[in-house]
């Protein structure tokens, strides 16, 4: 009889219990959201040494062509440089506002700057604050320009290199670059070659890349 009594009242007890928890929650204050993480020095050093925090420009180009959106591409450069040229889909975040909450700790973050040093410093900052899924682009924007926008075939390259170069040329044109064809010829004066940066639409990287991405996908199917 006693057991039956308590069983019938179980939902009521639960309700009271949960209300008490709720009331405590009212005054409990906020969840420690930005509790800084203890940096594991050894772990960090291992990551740096093993280079797993690097992403090559080729991989990034592939992902952009595939239209993947499971990462945030962050340009650490100055606003002016960003407006001159940036990798499609990139967003400009200043070093000082990296930790202001625009980025999520549960997001995959890919950082780049012109040469890569700033990005590496930003990476350290993010890593130390618990943004575990952060990466930098190997060689930065310079590598992107050299390898993706303006690829060149060095003199004396093998047949396989030439075949690969055909692929690079297609990728380059996709991103609006200009392959340095004649670099393979005897003239080594690459500096005189045209290296005109692709024009960005005023709406930013988002719109400009969305349309070609779709086209490319259809080709694949």
């Amino acid at each position: 009889m006693k057991l039956e009594f308590s069983k019938a009242n179980a939902p009521r007890y639960l309700a009271v219990f949960v209300i008490i928890l709720g009331v405590i929650g009212l005054f409990a204050g906020d969840i420690k959201n930005n509790a800084s993480k203890n940096i594991d020095n050894k772990e960090l050093a291992l990551i740096v040494e093993s280079k797993v925090d690097h992403i090559t420009v080729d991989d990034l180009a592939d992902w952009l062509i595939q239209g993947r959106a499971d990462f945030r591409l962050v340009d650490i450069n100055e606003e002016k440089e960003f407006n001159d040229y940036h990798i499609p889909n990139a967003e400009n975040i200043k070093m000082t506002s990296l930790l202001d909450g625009g980025l999520g700790k549960n997001e995959k973050i890919i950082l780049y700057s012109t040469g890569g040093i700033h990005a590496a410093q930003a990476w350290m900052l993010l890593k130390a604050n618990g943004y575990d899924n952060s990466y930098t682009i190997l060689g930065g924007l310079d590598a992107w320009k050299d390898r993706i926008l303006f690829p060149s075939l060095p003199a004396g390259s093998s047949a396989i290199d030439s075949i690969n170069f055909e692929k690079l040329k297609a990728v380059s044109r996709y991103f609006g670059g200009s392959p340095q064809e004649s670099a393979s010829a005897a003239a080594p004066s690459t500096a005189t070659l045209k290296r005109e940066l692709p024009k960005l639409s005023s709406s930013g990287g988002d719109g400009s890349s969305a349309t070609p991405a779709k086209k490319k996908k259809k080709e694949g199917c």
Partner: protein
């Protein structure tokens, strides 16, 4: 030890699949035990005859919410690392309506459909066949929907970020809402039971 365990790499992605299977079996088991393997019971929800679905779901929400809040408050769980499905407001509203319509017509949602299938119910099997047919048609016609699919993007957002109301206050409000909902559900059940009894006289 700190949670979420997966994000802190306490186990590998491969092992996470083992855990997923265990959690999935547990989830299915309790769905079935709550009576959700039966389309009759589920459909009765939409005619206000049996509010079990509402009660079980709201209980689950409140339990998980209170758990996450206090674990986060104690510092055992880093809630900033929990993966949140990104919000795309318009497609999700439309998707929710389509799912709800399918729920009323078919008598199952995908999870309960699976639970029903695994107990050998034929209607559950047909329902899951329909689910896969729908997935196939959607996948093949995705290029038509793609623009709509990503419209109304709000990112991984929570009520806390959207409104600025502290987590604890939101938790308290949701608890009040749940308790109010439970009391209301009991009343609705009694009302319709009485009405049905009168009608059958």
């Amino acid at each position: 030890m700190n949670a979420p365990f997966f994000k802190f790499e306490y186990f590998t992605p491969d092992f996470s699949l083992v855990i997923a299977i265990l959690i999935g079996i547990g989830f299915g088991f309790f769905l079935e035990q709550a009576g959700f393997g039966s389309a009759r019971k589920l459909a009765a929800q939409f005619y206000f005859r049996d509010m079990t679905v509402f009660k079980v779901m709201f209980t689950a929400i409140v339990t998980a919410m209170v758990g996450v809040f206090y674990l986060g408050w104690l510092g055992w769980l880093d809630i900033s690392l929990i993966y949140l499905t990104p919000t795309y407001i318009t497609p999700q509203v439309v998707g929710g309506l389509i799912l709800g319509l399918g729920f009323v017509v078919g008598g199952y949602c995908p999870g309960t459909g699976m639970a029903s299938l695994s107990t050998g119910r034929v209607d559950g099997m047909i329902y899951i066949l329909g689910v896969f047919a729908g997935i196939f048609v959607f996948g093949e016609s995705f290029s038509i929907w793609k623009d709509f699919y990503v419209s109304g993007k709000m990112g991984q957002i929570t009520l806390y970020e959207l409104t600025g109301i502290p987590y604890g206050v939101i938790m308290f409000l949701v608890i009040l809402m749940a308790i109010g909902g439970f009391i209301g559900a009991e009343k609705v059940e009694k009302y319709f039971a009485k009405k049905d009894a009168e009608a059958s006289k």
